[in-house]
C-alpha cells in the first residue's frame, strides 16, 4: 500500500499524459490540461518543504549545535526580510525590485563568477595533452576560446571561421549523438516507471 499506491498513481498519470500527446479526445485533453494545472499549484505549495527545512536547520545551529551562529542568524534575517517585505509590498513593487537587484543579483552572480577563477586554475593544472584524444580536446577548446574573443581575429583572420566550423560540424555531430542517447535513456526510464520497476523517486523524508 505504502509503495503500491504511489506507483499506481504515477503509472495512471503517465499513461494519461502520453495518451494526451497522441490522442485528440474531447474528454481526455481537457482533463489532462486541468490535471497539469493542478500539479503546477501543488509544485508551488511544495516550496514550503524547503522553507521549513531551512528554518529548522538554522534555528538548530543557533540553539543546539552552536556552530556558525552569526551566519545562521543572518540567513534567517535575510529570509524574513524578503518574505515580510514581499508580503507587504508585493513582488512587483519597485522597492522589492531594489532589494532583489541590490542583494540577490550580486550574490548569485558572484558565487557563479567564482567558478571562472577555479576553472582557470583547473584548466592550467588538468588540461594536459597526455594522449591524442586529450590533444584533440585541448585544440578544439583553444580554437573555440580564441574564436569567441575579438583578439582571435586580430591574431589570425581565419580564427572565427575555424571556431564556427568546430561548433557547426564536429560539435553538432557529438551533441546530436549525446542527445539521442539521452532520449533513449529517458524512454527506458519511463517504461520502468510505468511498469513499476523504478522506485527511486519514492524515497521518504525524515
Amino acid at each position: 500500500m505504502k509503495i503500491k499506491l504511489p506507483l499506481a498513481i504515477t503509472t495512471i498519470i503517465l499513461v494519461l499524459m502520453v495518451a494526451d500527446y497522441f490522442v485528440k479526445d474531447p474528454l481526455l485533453n481537457p482533463l489532462v490540461r486541468d490535471l497539469t494545472k493542478a500539479i503546477l499549484i501543488m509544485t508551488a505549495c511544495a516550496v514550503g518543504i524547503g522553507v521549513i527545512r531551512l528554518i529548522k536547520l538554522n534555528v538548530d545551529r543557533i540553539t543546539v549545535r552552536k556552530t556558525n551562529r552569526l551566519e545562521s542568524a543572518i540567513t534567517l534575517i535575510a529570509f524574513a526580510a524578503f518574505v515580510i517585505v514581499g508580503a507587504i509590498l508585493g513582488s512587483g513593487h519597485p522597492n522589492y525590485a531594489y532589494m532583489f537587484n541590490t542583494i540577490i543579483v550580486p550574490l548569485d552572480s558572484t558565487m557563479f563568477a567564482l567558478s571562472g577563477f577555479y576553472m582557470a586554475s583547473a584548466a592550467y593544472r588538468a588540461f594536459r595533452a597526455r594522449s591524442e584524444e586529450a590533444f584533440v580536446l585541448l585544440l578544439a577548446g583553444v580554437v573555440v576560446m580564441l574564436g569567441q574573443a575579438p583578439v582571435g581575429e586580430v591574431l589570425w583572420s581565419a580564427t572565427p571561421s575555424l571556431s564556427q566550423w568546430i561548433m557547426d560540424v564536429p560539435n553538432t555531430a557529438g551533441v546530436r549523438a549525446l542527445i539521442m542517447g539521452i532520449a533513449i535513456g529517458m524512454l527506458s526510464l519511463t517504461i520502468r516507471m510505468i511498469t513499476g520497476h523504478e522506485k527511486g523517486y519514492l524515497a521518504s523524508g525524515e
Binding site: 505504502k2 514550503g48 543572518i74 526510464l189
Partner: protein, 231 residues
C-alpha cells in the same frame, strides 16, 4: 540618486565579501554565502505564495472551489517531516513526478530522437557544394561513430572499430568546444561583477578591500606561515 549609490555600495560590498574566498576561507565569505541562501529562499517563497494566491485563492473567492482540491492534495507533502507517517508524502509526490515525466517524455522522443535523425539525414555528395558535402560526411559519420562508441555489448572490430574511434574524436572535439564556451561564460560573469565594482562609489570599497588583502598577505609572509589555499 542616493538610493542608487547605496545600492552600488551594498552590491560591491557583498561582491567583495564573496570574492574574498579566492585568498582564503574567512568569515566575510561565510556571511555572504549564508545571506545568499536566506535571501534566495525568501524571494522564491514569496513568488510561489503569489502563484498559489493568484491560482487558488482568487478563483475560490470567485466561486471556482474546485481549485481548492490541488491545494488540499498538496498538504500531505508536509508529512515529509514525520518519521512515522512519511510514506504519505509519496502520494502527492507520485502525482507530481507522473505529470513532470509525462509532460517531457512523449514530446521528448520526437524532438530529441526522431527529429535529430531527420536532421542528420544529409546528402553526402552534392557536386555544386563540395564543402557542404564534406561537412555533411563529417556530421553523418560523426553521429554514427559517437553512437556506436557507447555500444558496449560487443567489442568493436574491423570497420566498426574505425567508426567508433572516429566517433571518440568527434566527442572529444565537442567536449573541447563545450569547455571553451563554458569557460567564456564564466569569465563573462566575472566581467559583469568587475563592471559593478568599477562604478563610483564602489571604488572606495575596492581600494579598502585591496588594502586589507595587502596587509593580510604581508602579515602572512612576514610570519612565514603558508596561508591555506582556497582551491
Amino acid at each position: 540618486m542616493i538610493s542608487e549609490s547605496v545600492s552600488i555600495l551594498i552590491s560591491a560590498g557583498l561582491t567583495l565579501m564573496a570574492f574574498s574566498i579566492l585568498y582564503r576561507e574567512n568569515r566575510a565569505f561565510r556571511i555572504a554565502e549564508y545571506m545568499y541562501v536566506g535571501a534566495g529562499t525568501g524571494y522564491g517563497a514569496v513568488l510561489s505564495a503569489k502563484y498559489v494566491y493568484d491560482n487558488v485563492w482568487i478563483p475560490v473567492t470567485k466561486g471556482e472551489t474546485v481549485w481548492l482540491l490541488p491545494f488540499l492534495f498538496s498538504l500531505p507533502l508536509y508529512f515529509y517531516f514525520s518519521k512515522r507517517y512519511s510514506w504519505i508524502y509519496r502520494i502527492p509526490m507520485a502525482a507530481i513526478i507522473g505529470v513532470g515525466t509525462g509532460v517531457i517524455v512523449a514530446a521528448d522522443f520526437k524532438s530529441r530522437f526522431t527529429e535529430q535523425i531527420r536532421m542528420t539525414i544529409l546528402p553526402l555528395f552534392t557536386a555544386k557544394d563540395l564543402y557542404g558535402s564534406f561537412n555533411n560526411i563529417i556530421i553523418v559519420f560523426g553521429v554514427l561513430g559517437a553512437l556506436m562508441f557507447f555500444y558496449f555489448s560487443r567489442e568493436p572490430k574491423g570497420p566498426i572499430r574505425v567508426l567508433t574511434t572516429y566517433g571518440k574524436y568527434i566527442l572529444m572535439a565537442s567536449f573541447g568546444a563545450a569547455f571553451g564556451q563554458s569557460f567564456m561564460g564564466r569569465l563573462s560573469l566575472v566581467i559583469g561583477r568587475f563592471q559593478t565594482l568599477f562604478e563610483w562609489p564602489a571604488w572606495i570599497l575596492v581600494l579598502t578591500a585591496f588594502g586589507i588583502v595587502a596587509i593580510s598577505v604581508m602579515r602572512d609572509l612576514s610570519s612565514k606561515k603558508k596561508p591555506r589555499s582556497s582551491a
